[in-house]
Assembly symmetry: C2
């Protein structure tokens, strides 16, 4: 028995790759390198997916730059660090697999074992010119997000970026995609834009032997696939129903491209695929008023800018270290108040003073100033007031205008009074250099994200400065969001998609955010998304190209 | 095209019902009432599923007992209350559907519209003798779990129980299942125990025309189904991989029967079913040392017993209202500390003194004393110490013994010092009758769960009494757990399982914990599980029995 035979094939390839971000590009390039005829399908209008919008960092353990710098990134140590964060409730330092299942361990091990070779392979084929990710001072390698944990034995150096050939400087996702796409183009690998993978075709043995793609004008293109289909098609951030069905907390969008709607999930489960890691995502905060209009904003809020800046909840209370990593910070939005039956921190209000607005609004535009707008380009999502009371009233009015879309979220009546207390307490912390409540600025990653002390900040902890006693004050309403999700079909260490008996579905592979991530719930470091995506794209290519051609019937 | 034809059929029925709990029993009885030939499949060794282990409460809006008592439970008001809690981030009181999607609204409306008729129908066919659920004083109807919310216009009276014919008293799940099973037996509906539904069989049109069941000795029984298969087969609590893949927080088991392993999820998605509500569950706390041995313990911790009793986290701090509803309380276990990269409250320690041990250990055994053991039957999971310091050491030792299975969970070094402070502060609250931190004992449900003041408790808030200045003290390690999960294939208001285009999969129905619950993230009241299960069991039966017989091919 087989699925409907489309009757005719419009095209034929050894390997079809779905998606053109990091995972898809890597899979296509390595497949081509191994001699396969490759066709790429891209649902969107341009090449590059979410990778192009990203910071473009590759987290690659034990890479050649680390080795050249004399940094030892031992296999056991790296896997221990990854395991500790990916599965914190399973972690067991005394176990040979650190408490993980054979499956969970094997994915992390495959990542470690293949990461450096992936960078080297891309570099060798001229598809990537990598360079280390360094701190703002241009000297130190950028730290991992949990450089402060004792399990991390190589806390700096795993992050790489593509080097811009014009400037010679490390660059972001646009440059990374430019390099990967140039290599794809040079090899004349066909890329079918605006082609949405819509159906997998199997033969009587249940092997994947073809794929149908649907164009914008609802034409179907049927491609005969002789060896395998590799998905690198992104997560489901842009599908509100799937977010509600699967994610562990309320989010309102994220920088994933609009086409990331989880198409693979039901295509694969229809063939018996097992799902994994569905409740997790790469979390980040977003500007609520932006994502309500456009759930795929240009960027998320990564490093929260400002020193005379705090975030407070609807009660006017701080509940987090504002300078810590986006993935972790965002989970504060998910806290449920049992008795009141409300998400206490559903939205957080970022509050800062004129000084922080001036300083960060005058820096050259980059990730580390968003969402504080440039002085030259004000944003309507910034709420202002001459006093904290005035700001409170303005925020209340703004929330009232969108109440139909926020579950009726409003400030508590004690907000203004509490905010005054909160600011006073924070100002004391700033003077002392010690945040007794949330320990802001005490880890390497916070200092790296924050950058150098702002002009005039002579306080002992450069991430904090007292909020001014006089206005203006500014507020921005923040929601939970994602870079993208990280759950989907379960793969093995060959990047084969597995059925519910843990057996591979022949001819079906996956890498990147469309599959159950090897990272579990963790965001190990900058590039923790793209690093595994590139690596498992290569693993998929190496295995798919080795497959024997499959029969039609 | 069709799935493999099994070649022969061993049996034939109009309707096959999978599962023998509330949902399955209701589906079978109403199908039989409508003239269908029914076969029931039960994976376990006995009839009744998790319903038999439950409190046996039916939450049934606008039931006849309420109407007889003059309680108005208006449709719009009830749906508003349900919507407010099921989808708190979507809720909009100004919208005709309260902010819900047409689909979400339709399920809640179908529940309201069919609940009372379901009770009446079961009563009429002699399958249920219902009686109101009342408080310990035998007078007041038991309150809903959010009786204190302004959206709840009929906060008491929706809960019913089966009446024990011998005693004339309201009884629990054992009696509910006894009555339902007696009605099934009287009708000679075949019940195949130890038959696990293992494969759905479809014809060329994709209609479900059969089901295969596998016995303990791996024999396959193929049943031809002329009208439909109705699943009432429970959730996936007893499948650790699915818990990790889907649930929003770490849990270690729960009172769901051992057979609840999520079998429907992949059977249905293999036919193209859409999933819904996968990250939610009916949450409850569990005794960690019990669920590590047996992940399906006899009961969960519902109302936490004791007045001179608190729960603290690994820092020795209270973080919740110990007397609030189990579903909400449990979610405190899911809080993630971003910087430390730990689930701060992964395990909570329930601490009480000799007085509470004596009083609650001498009550007749019932849900409201667990996990405090009877004086006559000590439990090894109770840790004791003559002083708080001694208790702390004993807890540390106990945790050290199981560290390989707990992600290395241990008490913080400040635990004992903090605990002394915490007890002093709680004792002050108990004297004053006001818990300034978590407002313990301030809602109707807490007072109902707690019952009358314990002998000698003359304090103004009967849920609190100062912990004794002298030992012995006791501790029990608690984990998160579930009654069962509540995500699965999406159904419509006809209880038909839907594919990814929101079209019904012909001949496939579901009700109860195996499908995406109409309750979303909410636990509206006691019986919020069984009420919808019975109701959608009936809805499924009414629609499945109306289907035209389906062709083999």
């Amino acid at each position: 028995m087989s699925q409907d035979d489309p009757g005719r094939w419009d095209m034929e390839a050894d390997i079809v790759v779905v998606g053109t971000g990091a995972a898809g590009s890597s899979a296509a390039l390595f497949s081509h390198e191994d001699g396969a005829r490759v066709i790429m399908l891209e649902k969107g209008r341009r090449y590059g997916g979410t990778t192009e919008k990203s910071g473009g960092i590759l987290h690659m353990p034990n890479n050649s730059f680390m080795r050249d710098a004399g940094i030892k990134d031992e296999r056991d140590d790296a896997i221990r660090y990854y395991a500790r964060l990916a599965y914190p409730t399973l972690y067991n330092p005394n176990d040979s697999r650190f408490g993980l299942s054979e499956h969970q361990y094997s994915l992390i091990a495959a990542y470690y074992d293949n990461a450096s070779a992936t960078v080297d392979g891309l570099q060798k084929m001229g598809a990537l010119d990598p360079t280390p990710w360094v701190e703002w001072d241009g000297k130190q390698f950028f730290p991992d997000y949990f450089a402060h944990l004792p399990e991390n034995k190589a806390p700096r150096g795993r992050g790489l970026l593509a080097k811009d050939p014009t400037t010679g400087q490390a660059a972001g996702g646009v440059e990374l995609i430019r390099q990967l796409k140039a290599a794809v183009d040079k090899r004349e690998i066909p890329v079918l834009l605006r082609h949405r993978a819509s159906r997998l075709v199997t033969n009587a043995q249940g092997e994947v032997i073809g794929i149908e793609a649907t164009t914008d004008d609802e034409q179907t293109v049927a491609i005969r696939v002789r060896k395998g289909v590799i998905f690198g098609s992104g997560g489901f951030t842009q599908n509100p129903e799937l977010r509600l069905t699967f994610l562990r907390g309320p989010v309102y969008g994220g920088c994933a491209v609009p086409t990331n709607q989880g198409d693979l999930i039901y295509m694969a489960t229809g063939l018996g695929a097992q799902l994994e890691n569905m409740s997790n995502a790469w979390w980040a905060q977003a500007v609520l008023e932006s994502v309500l209009v456009n759930p795929s904003p240009p960027t998320d809020i990564f490093a929260v800018p400002g020193d005379s800046m705090i975030q407070v909840n609807r009660y006017g209370r701080r509940v987090l270290d504002e300078k810590f990593v986006y993935n972790e910070r965002t989970q504060v939005h998910f806290q449920w108040d049992p008795v009141k039956a409300e998400y206490t921190n559903l939205f957080m209000i970022m509050i800062y003073d004129g000084r922080t607005a001036d300083i960060w609004g005058s820096l050259p535009g980059s990730l580390s100033t968003y969402p504080i707008p440039s002085k030259d380009a004000p944003e309507s999502y910034v709420i202002s007031g001459e006093t904290l009371e005035g700001l409170t009233s303005a925020i209340e009015a703004r929330l009232a205008a969108i109440t139909d879309r926020t579950g009726g979220f409003a400030l508590d009546t004690a907000f203004a009074a509490n905010l005054t207390e909160t600011v006073a307490r924070f100002n004391q912390f700033a003077e002392q250099g010690a945040d007794l409540d949330f320990h802001r600025g005490e880890t390497p990653i916070e200092l790296a994200f924050h950058g150098p002390a702002a002009p005039g900040n002579d306080k002992p902890n450069r991430t904090m400065y007292p909020l001014s006693a006089t206005g203006p004050y500014y507020g921005i309403i923040l929601s939970g969001g994602t870079l993208d999700t990280k759950g989907g079909p379960k793969i093995n260490d060959q990047a084969q998609i597995l059925n519910t008996k843990d057996r591979p579905i022949p001819g079906l592979y996956g890498a990147g955010n469309c599959i159950g991530s090897p990272a579990g719930q963790a965001y190990w470091a900058g590039g923790g998304t793209i690093g595994p995506a590139l690596t498992f794209g290569r693993i998929a290519a190496e295995n798919a190209t080795k497959e024997a051609p499959k029969d039609d019937e």
